[in-house]
């Protein structure tokens, strides 16, 4: 198991290194560099005329005149060695400050969404497999089609509309106005929990639709096995039988796609966050892109990808624990 874990860890490091190169390239693509935008932001409207030399001075101050490879190592070195993600230009402070506890909010949203996804899709998938061909099964098939077809921002708007109608105005966002800038307290935490269900439902929507179908398909296969027939012949109660033989194996594909689900959730996060007014990383990422604040955007993209890679790692370990054959094969 140790060897397996170390191998996966090494793979994770290599992947993250390659991802960081890609993220850095994306940060470098926008035309004009930070010095141009910095000069523009600082002096526009002040009447001061900025010369080419001023911009060049800013550029060398910020170390932007070095070749790209060196700048990459400066950037990644700062992150790995000092936890320094660079400067957030639009906010005139460091990226770490801007991101701050928003990272924890994002993690909270992610974990809530994942919990919701599996709490719904696993039992419902088992039920659909047992009641194959029933009206419920057909209903679920239609739902799974809608899971992909209904764009998440539309779902967010629809739910927001009904939530506002039924529960009053203060439902969007992550906090009530009362707690928005308040320091953390039990009251604020409870307030967050009350607001978290809406984004969690929107983000879990397509993952649930997809995983119900996965669970249903593998469960249907497993139900046809002789081990199930044999257990039934021995008189094992149906409920216990389902959990002990087919469900035990049918859960594997779900565990192996945790990373996929995290990826899907993060992919949808910026747009859902924009519609629902969630003050976390997804929304910040969108804002950073619109402002071309590329250090913030790069840091968030890197962080989100790191969480995905880490969850892939977790899913690998879980799977090896659930199904020891995988460890041997590796």
């Amino acid at each position: 198991m140790l060897r397996f874990t170390l191998e996966r860890l090494a793979g994770m490091v290599v992947t993250m290194a390659l991802v960081s190169v890609m993220v850095f390239i994306i940060m470098e693509i926008p035309p004009g560099d930070y010095a141009d935008r910095y000069a523009f932001r600082k002096f526009s409207g002040t009447g001061v005329s900025v010369t080419e030399a001023d911009v060049a001075a800013i550029r060398s101050d910020l170390g932007l005149d070095k070749p790209m490879v060196l700048r990459y190592f400066d950037w990644i070195g700062g992150i790995v060695l000092r936890g320094d993600f660079g400067q957030a230009f639009a906010f005139e402070t460091s990226v770490v400050k801007v991101i701050g506890d928003k990272a924890w909010l994002t993690l909270g949203i992610l974990l809530t969404t994942l919990l919701l996804t599996y709490a719904i899709s696993v039992p419902v998938g088992i039920y659909a497999a047992v009641k194959r061909g029933s009206a419920v099964d057909y209903g679920l098939t239609i739902f799974s089609y809608l899971g992909l077809a209904l764009p998440n921002f539309l779902l967010a708007l629809i739910l927001l509309y009904f939530a506002n109608k039924w529960f009053g105005a203060d439902i969007g966002g992550l906090f009530s106005t009362r707690y928005q800038d308040a320091p953390w307290s039990l009251g604020k935490f409870w307030d967050l929990v009350k607001h978290l269900w809406l984004p969690a439902v929107v983000l879990a929507w397509s993952a649930v639709a997809y995983q119900i179908q996965t669970m249903r398909a593998t469960m249907s296969d497993e139900l046809n096995r002789l081990s199930v027939t044999a257990a039934r012949a021995r008189g094992v109660p149906e409920g216990k039988l389902l959990l002990k033989y087919p469900a035990r194996l049918a859960i594997n594909p779900i565990v192996s796609t945790i990373g996929f689900d995290v990826n899907r959730i993060f992919s949808e996060l910026p747009i859902v966050a924009a519609v629902l007014g969630l003050t976390e990383l997804g929304e910040l990422l969108l804002k950073a892109y619109l402002d071309l604040d590329m250090y913030v955007a790069g840091a968030i993209l890197l962080l989100l990808t790191f969480i995905i890679v880490f969850m892939n790692f977790v899913s690998d370990l879980l799977l090896a624990w659930l199904d020891p054959r995988i460890k041997l094969g590796a």
């Binding site: 991802v19 890609m22 992909l148 077809a149 921002f153 708007l157 992919s267 996060l269 519609v275 995905i308």
Partner: protein, 383 residues
């Protein structure tokens, strides 16, 4: 044993034999088509998608007005549904009520209200704005319009600038579907190249390519698209932005298909017919294209169809948040930019009509993909 109704048993048998002969001698594609035809949902989805494509291609003819034509007399106007009867009786041709402008008693803003005593008749093949169908056939004839050239028919209402939602949706259908097609084509070519090299070469090359594929797959895709789209210079023309968008969507859409091609190639790499081709001196490109690819073309087509919805949804999502196509280009996403808040649901819900198109298109592509997958699977029927 023989029932009387069939008459001559010989004829019946002959018919049966003919049918079976036709089945055994049918080509692979004919068989797939036969199986697909039996998939009723997929046939319906195909028809709907075909209609949608027609609406898009002939947008200039179908839409009564241009995508940016403004009707300042009918701003934020509700859909005008043609009717046959009103309080003053019925008529054989459908009509709508004319619009007159009044002042809102409270806010004093000019608002347009339907005038129940004024009838304007709907005309088919009515003449209206001059446009060029397909970009080169000049015409003033539109599919429908009003008999009175001064009034305008807004089937699905208007937006805050008085632009016709129906017309805009038709033009948007063209943009969104075409961007999907181009994006899928670009990612197909890339997948063919990357997957082809990895699967045919194997070994070290394959390892490196697999690593890169892994990296592209692990980064969340919409934020990645957003990063590239955000980098598009603000001064680019709408055409440049359009092609840049297709490129961005295509550039990262290849991993799934590339993996499929790679694994298929790897699995048939050491088959006799491939070795024979290699011994005969065929070049790698020819071996892949002529000998290996045809054995799993149907799978590739299924994968391509299934990847359409992702392209369309990505484009819609990007344009929705203002990082994709920009006005005056109209796409489903651009149109939905106007429908970003709950206020819109309450006040001008017809601005959500383009969303119906998105949902229907994505559903249709998914159903067709499922139908094709079943049809392409040679073991899906036991005959």
């Amino acid at each position: 044993m023989t029932d009387a109704t069939t008459g001559a048993p010989g004829k019946q048998e002959e018919k049966e034999r003919q049918k079976r002969l036709k089945y055994y001698s049918a080509s692979q594609w004919t068989l797939i088509w036969w199986r697909f035809r039996r998939h009723r949902a997929a046939m319906v989805a195909g028809t709907i998608l075909g209609l949608m494509a027609l609406l898009g291609v002939f947008a200039e003819f179908v839409a009564p007005y241009g995508p940016t034509t403004r009707d300042t007399k009918y701003i934020d106007g509700a859909p005008q549904i043609p009717m046959f009867c009103d309080q003053n009786g019925c008529s054989a041709t459908p009509f709508i009520h004319g619009v007159s402008t009044k002042r809102d008693p409270v806010t004093l803003r000019a608002i347009s209200v339907p005038d129940p005593d004024k009838r304007v008749y709907v005309a088919f093949l009515a003449s209206g704005e001059e446009t060029r169908v397909l970009g080169f056939i000049p015409t003033t004839i539109h599919l429908f319009g009003l008999s009175d050239a001064n009034a305008k028919l807004h089937l699905w209402g208007t937006d805050d600038l008085g632009r016709d939602v129906f017309s805009r949706t038709m033009y948007a259908t063209r943009t969104s579907l075409s961007i999907g097609v181009l994006g899928v084509l670009i990612s197909f070519v890339l997948a063919l190249l990357i997957g082809g090299v990895a699967g045919y070469a194997g070994g070290m090359t394959d390892n490196v390519i697999q690593r890169v594929t892994e990296v592209v797959r692990v980064v969340p895709i919409i934020p990645l698209y957003m990063g590239l789209a955000a980098a598009m210079p603000k001064e680019w023309s709408t055409t440049q932005v359009y092609f840049a968008m297709t490129l961005i969507l295509g550039l990262f859409g290849w991993p799934t298909l590339a993996r499929r091609i790679r694994s298929q190639l790897l699995s048939i790499r050491s088959e006799d017919f491939v070795i024979a081709a290699r011994l005969a001196g065929a070049r790698p490109g020819r071996i892949i294209g002529q000998h290996m690819l045809p054995s799993f073309t149907s799978f590739i087509i299924v994968d391509l169809v299934i990847s359409f919805p992702y392209m369309i949804l990505s484009e819609t999502a990007l344009s929705f948040v203002g990082l994709g196509l920009r006005p005056p280009t109209v796409s489903w996403g651009v149109l939905l930019q106007q429908a970003q808040s709950v206020r819109v649901i309450e006040q001008t819900p017809w601005l959500f009509i383009p969303a119906v198109f998105v949902v229907v298109a994505v559903l249709a592509f998914t159903v067709i993909g499922d139908g094709l997958r079943d049809a392409a699977d040679p073991y899906s029927e036991a005959q």
